[in-house]
């Protein structure tokens, strides 16, 4: 029965997504694509922050490298199909992660965060200064966006916002599913136990730095996919948007607001931030101020974010039901098991 309900919910969600462009029009479709991009970006960072306990303030370097990878591939390779273009971004980001991983897997905590802050800025300045490759602050724009075509059968123009909506959402949903599946594998469980007690995992015979490196590369690669979709969506990649420091802070905030301990936390967070951004930018220019305030309030009063809040509500509701429903029902309170990493 439960499984039936779940399937029905998933199917309903899928139907809603298919109808979404028709129901809400192009403007809200584009907002949804942006939300989806940030959701994938934040979910990929959550592989590090939520599941492995590594805080990175430089995840934009993978997002940006994915975006630049796709943009450069589309600019320089004539007639490159759509899927290989997205793969180019993915591979570029993965390659960068493979190069940087040996440097960063030996540290954790503050040192990890700071090294990423610095590496992220290094990539930012590289993108600014290597003007002949990246176009500096103007960036790369106006590249031809190929249609998605199955040879001999069909071809969909990606310049049409509706088709692009379906393509982007399909790629992002697929990527998020792969990441979800990854957390359910035995390897994913090692990742979680490494967050909770790295020393014990080491004693059990698992190689902590190697495991970290694998997770790190996966997180980087999928951020690259988010960047690749972003590049095609905007048809423009510029240094500040791709590698800027706010681009690095953004997914961290999304995860914190959504809830750090849950897989779906970042997705909720991206939705909340999308709404917040959309609403505040209508009334005020001080979006950063509002975001800063939200961040401070969340960390002060709801440190487990939105999903943590939901979990505690659910626990409380169950406890009440147990207390009223039958005698001797155990009073269970939310214990805060999803401990933040120190």
């Amino acid at each position: 029965m439960n499984r039936m309900i779940r399937w029905a919910l998933w199917m309903g969600g899928a139907v809603l997504l298919i109808l979404y462009p028709r129901l809400f029009g192009i403007y809200y479709s584009n907002i949804f694509v942006m939300f989806a991009i940030y959701a994938l970006f934040a979910v990929s960072l959550n592989m590090l922050l939520g599941f492995t306990g590594l805080l990175s303030f430089g995840h934009a370097m993978y997002f940006g490298t994915g975006a630049y990878g796709t943009a450069l591939a589309l600019t320089h390779i004539k007639g490159l199909p759509l899927i290989p273009a997205v793969l180019a971004g993915f591979l570029a980001a993965t390659l960068l992660a493979v190069l940087i991983a040996p440097l960063v897997v030996r540290v954790s905590g503050n040192a990890f965060a700071m090294m990423h802050l610095a590496f992220g800025q290094l990539m930012f300045y590289l993108a600014l200064k290597l003007r002949h490759i990246t176009g500096g602050e103007d960036g790369i724009g106006g590249f031809v966006i190929p249609p998605l075509s199955i040879p001999g059968i069909a071809s969909w123009k990606m310049t049409d916002p509706t088709y692009f909506f379906y393509f982007a959402v399909a790629v992002i949903a697929g990527s998020i599913w792969v990441l979800w599946f990854f957390t359910k594998t035995p390897f994913g469980q090692i990742m979680v136990s490494m967050r909770d007690n790295a020393k014990r995992v080491d004693y059990l015979g698992f190689r902590v730095p190697h495991t970290k490196a694998v997770v790190y590369v996966i997180a980087g690669g999928f951020a690259g996919i988010a960047g690749a979709i972003y590049a095609i969506f905007q048809n423009l990649v510029a240094a500040y948007d791709a590698y800027g420091i706010l681009t690095s802070f953004w997914p961290v905030m999304i995860i914190m607001v959504g809830g750090v301990g849950h897989f779906y936390g970042p997705i909720c967070g991206a939705a909340i931030f999308g709404l917040l951004d959309e609403l505040t930018s209508r009334y005020t220019e001080r979006v950063e101020l509002v975001i800063g305030l939200v961040l401070v309030l969340v960390i002060m009063y709801a440190p487990y974010g939105f999903t943590g809040f939901l979990t505690s509500m659910k626990m409380r509701w169950r406890a009440r039901k147990a207390a009223y429903g039958k005698l001797g029902g155990t009073q269970r309170e939310y214990s805060g098991n999803e401990k933040l990493v120190s």
Binding site: L49, L55, F57, L103, R106, V107, S108, G109, N110, A111, A113, M114, M115, L117, A118, F119, Q121, L122, Y125, L126, L128, K129, G136, E137, G244, I245, L246, F249, V252, M253, M256, V260, R286, V287, E288, L289, I291, G292, L293, V294, L295, V296, I299, M300, P303, L340, V341, S342
Partner: protein, 329 residues
């Protein structure tokens, strides 16, 4: 953070500093005036001049980085709002100058107000999230930093505000055959004086002993009956105050604008990371090295100089992941 200011700002006829285009680092330039009757080795003079520029910048970096590293060493808090406080103090300095007309009043009062804000942050916000570990503290300070960065834009606008140096510090002083702006030498001298006072307090007084002990084991010091939270507050205040002093002092050279925090903040973080978290000596050494790297880098590599800092950091961390003088996580 839209104001990646650019432009050339002259502090006097002889020396100029540019806040590089698009965050391209602090580019240090200098025009020389030589006595006509005495031909000198211009290259040598250039090296010396760039050296002094580098030292001045390194000293400013040290003022910012020392607070950062002290706070980290003691409380394990990496205060990402530190650079924002640095910038906030520059704005306070501008406001004080506008009200009182005295640079010295600005230099005295603005850092103290900034330190008060820092203490409020420590007292009422950071303490509460301490239970959630480093990540909570990092996120909190990022939030505070965003509020400050956008707040100053709301109050003072985005344009560059200028602060004039007092007449006594204007002009040039002759060193050997070349002339050098007094104000830079004033920066170096003041930073050295602060460094001296700080090290005297830290290494020669009972208070300094308590602080050093708390850096290495806060719990143990607490058990000895010393009020560690008050010591923490004191250190946080002093750290923010030093960043505030640096902010007011750099303001006449770089002017005051919302992007002020970005460049120096990033360099100060690199200094703390490379020098080793919590190590004051490491911060001093790496600050001076970084100052030289930026000034000579601009000389030889012009616009790519800003990359040098990051390459330096990557190289240092590849050899010693915990920083040159760092011992613990």
């Amino acid at each position: 953070m839209t104001a990646w200011g650019s432009g050339t700002l002259s502090i006097d006829d002889e020396a100029y500093l540019t806040y590089g285009s698009l965050g391209g680092g602090i580019q240090v330039g200098h025009t020389f005036r030589f006595k006509e009757d005495k031909p000198v080795d211009a290259t040598m003079a250039m090296y010396v001049a760039q050296g002094i520029h580098g030292l001045a910048y390194g000293m400013i970096l040290f003022l910012v980085a020392s607070g950062l590293t002290l706070i980290f060493g003691m409380m394990g808090i990496l205060n990402l709002a530190h650079a924002a406080f640095f910038m906030l103090s520059a704005y306070f300095g501008y406001q004080m100058l506008a009200w009182t007309g005295s640079f010295w009043a600005a230099l005295l009062v603005a850092p103290v107000i900034t330190a008060a804000f820092g203490i409020l942050l420590e007292r009422f916000l950071l303490k509460k999230v301490h239970a959630f570990g480093h990540i909570g503290e990092l996120i909190l300070t990022v939030g505070v930093s965003l509020i400050i960065l956008d707040g100053v834009k709301a109050v003072w606008g985005t344009e560059n505000l200028t602060i004039n140096v007092p007449p006594i510090l204007k002009g040039l002083v002759k060193i050997g055959v070349m002339q050098y702006p007094i104000y830079r030498l004033f920066i170096i001298g003041m930073a050295l004086a602060l460094l001296l006072i700080l090290s005297l307090v830290l290494y020669k007084t009972r208070l300094g002993m308590v602080v050093r002990a708390a850096v290495s084991d806060a719990e143990m010091v607490d058990a000895l009956g010393i009020n560690v939270p008050v010591v923490f507050m004191f250190v946080f205040g002093v750290g923010t105050w030093m960043a505030g002093v640096a902010g007011v002092v750099i303001a006449p050279i770089l002017t005051v604008f919302p992007g002020l925090a970005d460049q120096i903040g990033m360099d100060a973080f690199i200094v703390v990371v490379v020098g080793g978290f919590g190590s004051l000596g490491g911060a001093l050494l790496v600050s001076i090295i970084s100052g030289f790297i930026s000034s000579y880098g601009v000389q030889f590599l012009s616009q790519y100089a800003v990359l040098l800092m990051f390459i330096f950091m990557a190289a240092a961390l590849a050899i010693k992941p915990m920083g040159l003088f760092g011992e613990r996580e």
